[in-house]
């Protein structure tokens, strides 16, 4: 069973619909006690990273999340929250990863937001991409990106610059794209997360 951290940052209809399609059970995490009911955790997130971080702090769940030893997957802004800092709102974040979340603007000349299907190059040891072809396309919608890291990047995306499409460290994982909207490969990635 997957627990979804319910902190009010964006709509989770698409995520729960995707979990229904792949027949994975899930529930909402509203309190510290709720974590015990689940064997893995998803932190969703859409919108403004600074605002999302404030909402997450208001739930009082931050310390529990940081202490988790079960697999955790951050999606989109939920992934960015796992980094140490975002230029969006100049926000201090969870610092699970010693990485920064940066704005595309002034760094690339391409259109922002980065919107649409982009190919992704996964590292061989990243379990999220098991049974997914090389350079598969995933659906992205974002204006801020997590810097590339030789240590923590689990998959690389190039949009004028190489950045982290996926990150991993111990039991913590994150994906910048939306697996719940990324067709069959996205569903496979969610299935893979349930088997980590």
């Amino acid at each position: 069973m997957i627990g979804i951290v319910n902190y009010g940052a964006g709509n989770i209809f698409s995520l729960t619909a995707a979990l229904d399609r792949i027949q994975v059970g899930y529930g909402m995490i509203n309190s510290k006690e709720d974590f015990d009911q689940f064997d893995r955790v998803i932190i969703p997130g859409v919108g403004h990273a600074g605002a999302a971080m404030n909402k997450l702090r208001e739930t009082g769940l931050v310390d529990t999340i940081l202490a988790l030893e079960k697999p955790v997957l951050g999606i989109c802004v939920g992934m960015q929250l796992l980094t140490s800092y975002s230029e969006e709102g100049e926000a201090e974040l969870l610092s699970v990863f010693p990485l920064k979340t940066l704005h595309f603007k002034n760094r690339v000349t391409l259109k922002v937001p980065h919107m649409g299907w982009n190919s992704v190059k996964a590292e061989a040891d990243c379990p999220l991409f098991k049974d997914i072809p090389e350079n598969a396309y995933f659906y992205f919608v974002h204006s801020f990106f997590i810097e590339h890291s030789p240590v923590y990047t689990g998959a690389t995306c190039n949009y004028g610059i190489d950045y982290s499409a996926a990150i991993q460290k111990d039991n913590f994982y994150g994906v910048q794209f939306h697996p719940e909207k990324s067709g069959g490969h996205g569903e496979q990635l969610l299935i893979n997360f349930t088997k980590i």
Partner: protein, 250 residues
């Protein structure tokens, strides 16, 4: 590589799919949820539903339709039509829509773009623009192209971008329904003016038209309806053709 997107557009009325040929004659082309699922399986990158339902009762059917699509389809979709205020958009967001598209409501009340972008993020807000070339200039048109405004298309699109639109869906009414190809010069010209994604619409008749619109105007996505609904263009074959022409597709 960021792929160029192929987007089938489904006109829906009272929960059923229809497509206007030049926006006048309507023909039934099936169940929208079934059609949407088929398109997602065929490799469509995204879907647009244009709701032309006029009645309050029919509108409820549309909400149910959005929920069914969100549950069953694993690619992003946009819903347009009937969105006049924040509340309309919020219901669609909570029903699982990834984006909403606004057209005449934005022309009548441009502040709506700012309000929607602020409330739900720019990525949620597509501004659809119907344009026609009249006496030497491009003008925004309303009511499916029947009503001309005095607003220059270029100026309006720039304004929509600055107010927070996340994407522009531009339909050339001169090309729509003709099947003679997209309005590539206009699309190329508009694409140079903005820094947000541009979706081309109006005029698709064969595979070459999609090759042309991506190569000549460099738009981010191309949308069509009847050529897909009636099987005149099959998406897997279209993608194969685009790939062979060196255009990045999924």
């Amino acid at each position: 590589m960021l792929a160029k997107r192929i987007i089938p557009c489904l006109d829906v009325k009272d929960g059923r799919t229809v497509k206007g040929v030049n926006f006048v004659d309507l023909r039934d082309a099936g169940d929208p949820v079934e059609l949407a699922w088929q398109y997602s399986q065929q490799g469509a990158d995204e879907l647009v539903f244009l709701d032309i339902t006029a009645t309050h009762e029919g509108r409820k059917t549309t909400i149910d339709l959005v929920k069914s699509v969100a549950k069953q389809v694993n690619i992003p979709f946009t819903i347009g039509g009937g969105i006049n205020e924040l509340r309309d958009a919020e219901i669609l967001l909570n029903s699982g829509a990834d984006k909403i598209s606004i057209n005449s409501a934005a022309v009548r009340n441009p502040q709506l773009i700012d309000d929607l972008a602020k409330a739900f993020g720019s990525q949620f807000v597509v501004v659809a623009v119907d344009t026609r070339f009249v006496e030497g200039a491009n003008y925004v048109h309303l009511r499916g192209g029947r009503e001309k405004t005095d607003i220059h298309t270029e100026k309006w699109i720039k304004e929509a971008e600055s107010r927070g639109a996340g994407e522009i869906l531009l339909t050339s009414m001169d090309h729509d329904g003709t099947k003679n190809g997209f309005d590539n010069p206009l699309l190329g010209h508009i694409n140079q003016l903005i820094h947000i994604p541009l979706i081309a619409s109006g005029g698709a008749g064969n595979e070459q038209h999609f090759v042309d619109v991506f190569q000549q105007s460099n738009v981010d996505a191309a949308l069509a309806a009847s050529v897909f609904h009636y099987g005149e263009i099959l998406i897997p074959e279209l993608k194969e053709r685009l790939r062979a022409e060196g255009i990045a597709v999924r």
